[in-house]
């Protein structure tokens, strides 16, 4: 995968100007109180370079209000997947400075109110992700350092508006902010603010900063769509510690204490922090297994433990093959792995043989690892839930299961040995956020790919004409959490499955058979005789094209777009015998 490694904004802009997008491109509306062309070009350039083609729509200069408030405007006709609000603190600054100090907070509140109402309106566009650039705190400090003590000072007023924007993002699931203040301070505000370009062409920042600002909007989009990076595959020698453990021995490697060794400890702390967030860690090292494990088991300065590693591969095979093994064992795509290795040879080999993997260049000095990797913003999050925190554990148990599976003669023997237990329950409030996440993100095991909104899902829960169920799965290796959702609607003696999704984590566990058994049972209880289901093909859900056939449904309709409709007579369905026990929900007293 493409990694934004340099600052060649001119090359990106040109690429963006040449690229005219494609049919399947992400549709991005760029609305700004400034010139939008430069940003839009860099956005398209980054999209084209990163395998996520982007087409943009930009209304007339500063016509943001008209575009958003007039429902017949081209913005709505464009049907954007993402709306970006490009704020320009320079314009706000000019407005604020025309107002006397006592009136400034009120003026700022009024401006913020307007902006927030535009954001809220745009967020109602079906399926849209809204990205708002937070303002960069102005460099003008009329009172010097004391400015923060003066209520109407520019830094104070702007910071208050930013806080408001973050508040809107916190309470609106599809609104996100780009922290431009962070980007500006990272690059240096003197580089960010180019007053000449603001006066001449209303550029909100120097074009050098654009790849960061636009890139992070795309990072957010990827995160929202579940296309973000999930796993870091790590080399060991000269990555997690200095030196070569096989040659230098446990006592000879640099780790801990002062100087070089401390840089590796800091890198490990950084990785551990990502692990806590739910990023999966894996080892991909050329080493003897035992030697590679020794520091994890016996070195007192190791921050990362063996159990933090969801998959541990140390051998002498080529690393592209090993990364494929990691992807298979964890059941994730190669394109969700980032590979960290100090050797240019290994990095290039992986880029050649497994081009889907994200392979950042690495600095020579371990002390530069964290600042460099942070500058790439590899791990954007669209949200953070309990489920995310546990994710690394899910994947670790997945890899253990995968390794054990090799010992069993038949898959069913193996599945039975797992002692699986599942919940099959009607939607409830506590589980709605995770249900929404699964419905929003699942691409492969997804029969109809209808992206129900959180509000719709809540309504299903309360509507007696709907049968909305979530499914969890646990076994002796660990808890997989909430991994499937099935929503059916009832009409007279017929029930139609309108949505059925399942996480890739639990494919090939016969869980779909369990779900059908339970659904049939529900149908019997409410006196329904017929169950219907539809398959609507997308680029990604080939996996379930034959699901209904496999489950014993009868084909009743074939559509020109390749879609199919299926039917099952409830009385003719025999229980599948899937080796999963239904668990009963224990309510807290």
């Amino acid at each position: 995968m493409f990694v934004w490694n340099g600052f060649d904004y001119i090359r990106l802009m040109r690429l963006g100007m040449e690229d005219r997008g494609a049919d399947h491109a992400a549709r991005v509306a760029v609305l700004g109180w400034c010139t939008t062309q430069y940003y839009a070009a860099v956005l398209r350039g980054l999209g084209a370079a990163g395998g996520l083609p982007v087409v943009t729509y930009e209304p007339e200069y500063s016509a943001v209000h008209q575009a958003v408030l007039d429902e017949r405007s081209q913005l709505y006709e464009f049907e954007p997947d993402m709306v970006v609000f490009l704020t320009a603190v320079q314009g706000l600054r000019d407005l604020l400075m025309s107002v006397d100090l006592p009136d400034r907070p009120a003026t700022a509140t009024r401006e913020a109110d307007q902006l927030v109402s535009l954001i809220r309106r745009a967020a109602q566009i079906p399926g849209v992700t809204v990205v708002v650039n937070q303002l960069v705190v102005p460099y003008e400090r009329t009172w010097g350092n004391f400015s923060w003590q003066v209520e109407g000072s520019l830094p104070n007023v702007v910071e208050r508006i930013n806080k408001r924007l973050r508040g809107v993002a916190a309470e609106t699931a599809n609104v996100h902010t780009v922290d431009c203040e962070h980007i500006a301070s990272w690059l240096g505000k003197r580089a960010w603010f180019d007053e000449r370009l603001w006066f001449h062409s209303k550029s909100f920042c120097h074009p050098e900063a654009l790849p960061h600002v636009a890139g992070q909007a795309l990072d957010i989009f990827r995160a929202v769509k579940g296309m973000g990076l999930k796993c870091i595959a790590l080399d060991l020698d000269n990555v997690l510690w200095g030196g070569v453990v096989g040659d230098d021995g446990l006592e000879g490697i640099h780790l801990g204490d002062l100087g070089e060794g401390e840089a590796y400890v800091q890198f490990q702390r950084w990785l551990k922090e990502l692990h806590r967030r739910g990023i999966i860690l894996a080892v991909c090292s050329k080493n003897d297994d035992e030697k590679a494990l020794e520091p994890f088991r016996s070195h007192s300065a190791m921050v990362l433990k063996e159990t933090d590693m969801s998959c541990f591969i140390a051998n002498w095979e080529n690393k592209a093959d090993n990364l494929r093994t990691i992807a298979r064992r964890l059941n994730i795509g190669l394109d969700s792995i980032v590979f960290i290795d100090d050797s240019p040879f290994e990095r290039n080999l992986v880029r050649e043989l497994a081009p889907e993997v994200c392979v950042p260049e690495m600095p020579d000095d371990a002390a530069d690892f964290v600042p460099y990797l942070e500058s790439l913003n590899l791990f954007e999050a669209a949200e953070f839930s309990e489920e995310d925190r546990k994710r690394a554990d899910f994947y670790r148990s997945n890899a253990l299961r995968e390794a054990e599976q090799e010992q069993f003669k038949t898959v069913d023997d193996y599945l039975t040995s797992l002692e699986s237990e599942a919940l099959f329950e009607r939607f409830d409030d506590a589980h709605l956020p995770r249900i929404a996440q699964l419905v929003q993100r699942t691409n492969q095991f997804n029969l109809t790919t209808i992206r129900h909104s959180a509000e719709e899902l809540r309504q299903f829960a309360e509507d007696p004409d709907y049968l909305p169920f979530y499914v969890t799965l646990a076994d002796r290796f660990g808890d997989n959490g909430l991994i499937s959702v099935v929503i059916a609607s009832r009409e007279a003696d017929r029930v139609e499955i309108i949505t059925w999704v399942m996480s890739c984590r639990v494919i090939a566990r016969r869980l779909e058979e369990f779900v059908l058994d339970e659904l049939v049972q529900v149908c019997k209880e409410i006196g329904v005789t017929q169950l219907r289901g539809t398959y609507a093909p997308t680029k990604k859900n080939q996996l379930v094209a034959e699901l209904y056939e496999r489950l014993g449904f009868r084909l009743v309709e074939e559509r020109p777009d390749g879609g199919t409709a299926w039917e099952l007579l409830v009385d003719e369905h025999a229980p599948s015998g899937a080796p999963i026990a239904r668990k009963v929900l224990e309510l807290d007293a």
Partner: protein
């Protein structure tokens, strides 16, 4: 840096910005080059600043009369 060298490097800047070789002469103006609009003008300015390690003033950002004049400007800034 001689005038010829500046011309040579400026051709490189134009090629980088326009994505194709651009014929540059003393008398070339924005009207002679397809796509040289105000957006491209800013890109040419920032790309030239990077290439020649110079900084243009606000009054110099808008179109120079022709490429020859622009080269003279760069020459004077580099001293």
């Amino acid at each position: 840096m001689t005038r010829e060298q500046i011309f040579g490097e400026l051709s490189g800047v134009f090629e980088e910005v326009f994505g194709r070789p651009v014929e540059l002469g003393e008398e070339t103006t924005a009207d002679d080059v397809e796509g040289w609009d105000s957006v491209m003008q800013v890109m040419l300015i920032v790309a030239s600043e990077r290439q020649f390690d110079v900084r243009f003033e606000s009054s110099e950002i808008a179109n120079a009369a022709n490429v020859g004049e622009f080269v003279t400007l760069i020459e004077s800034k580099r001293g």
